[in-house]
Amino acid sequence: MATARTPTPSSPDGATIIGESVHIRGQLNGGEDLHVLGRVEGRVDLERTLVVAQSGIVKAEVSVKNAIISGVVVGNIHATESVELTREGRMVGDIYSPRIIIVDGASFRGNVDMGDIANMPARKPSAERPRPAPAARPAPPPQARPTLTAKPGAKPAAPAPAAKAPEKAPDKAPEKAPEKAEQPRPASVTPLEPPAAKGLPQKAQKTRVIVKRK
């Protein structure tokens, strides 16, 4: 087997890849993404994302930020952000993560703990998945800004709160006048950013690579 590095469609730049013919037993720590196409047994501690490819087998206690599983995992996963079992994913073990996605076709046996679900804030649609997995739904396109089709004679989108500035009778309660200074700023128009713009682990961001060799 000369091809230890099978190029995968999801193969990222700057991630460690454990090739199909590689079998690791022991402890694996790291600060970068890890793609497992081969086999890992023991313990995996990552500061970033673990991707278990379809051919990958992980039999370990896993502690990561994100996990995307298309292969086989036997063991428990603790993720600080999210765990996704894709269509091909198979897993036996417990998952501890605030965000867990199981796609139809995946198989799973174990406990799921998302923490305090009663007080969990409602779903944040803007929250990005760690990486668009092959089977992932495409992110909804940023909504088209309502085009300002100004009717003839219509006011050019006056900022509603400012337009309603409290007009007080000058003779009445003059001591309240200073409040006017606190009225909402007339639409300091910060354009809405498309949801994808924040929170997404951008490729462009500084890549911190910590490779620990022993």
Binding site: I57, K59, V72, V74, R90, M91, V92, R99, I100, I101, I102, V103, D104, G105, S107, F108, R109, G110, N111, V112, D113, M114, I117, A118, M120, R123, P125, R129
Partner: protein, 112 residues
Amino acid sequence: MADAPCVIGRGITIKGNLSGAEQLVIEGAVEGHISLKNHLTIKETGRITADITTHSLMVHGQVSGNIEANDLVSLSSEASVVADIKAPRVVLEDGARFKGRIEMDVELPPGV
């Protein structure tokens, strides 16, 4: 079979056993047992405290209890479920809140 499924409206609370062979949509509250031989939908307003046995299940609302299905159990992004689920197919959408155990058949490769 009727095209329109039977609906338990949002103003209805049922305490006891609920069984049937027809499609059912629950918008209200049910406490007790649900046994259905068809598809069950629990809408966003639905609040279920019951053990559920059904053919398939789609949850948008709140469920606490045990769930057993012959086919698919799907928890939508609005669902909030505390339960043990036993079904051949279980789907957890992004945003679904869930706590409990999931039992599907998992075929592992030999030697794992």
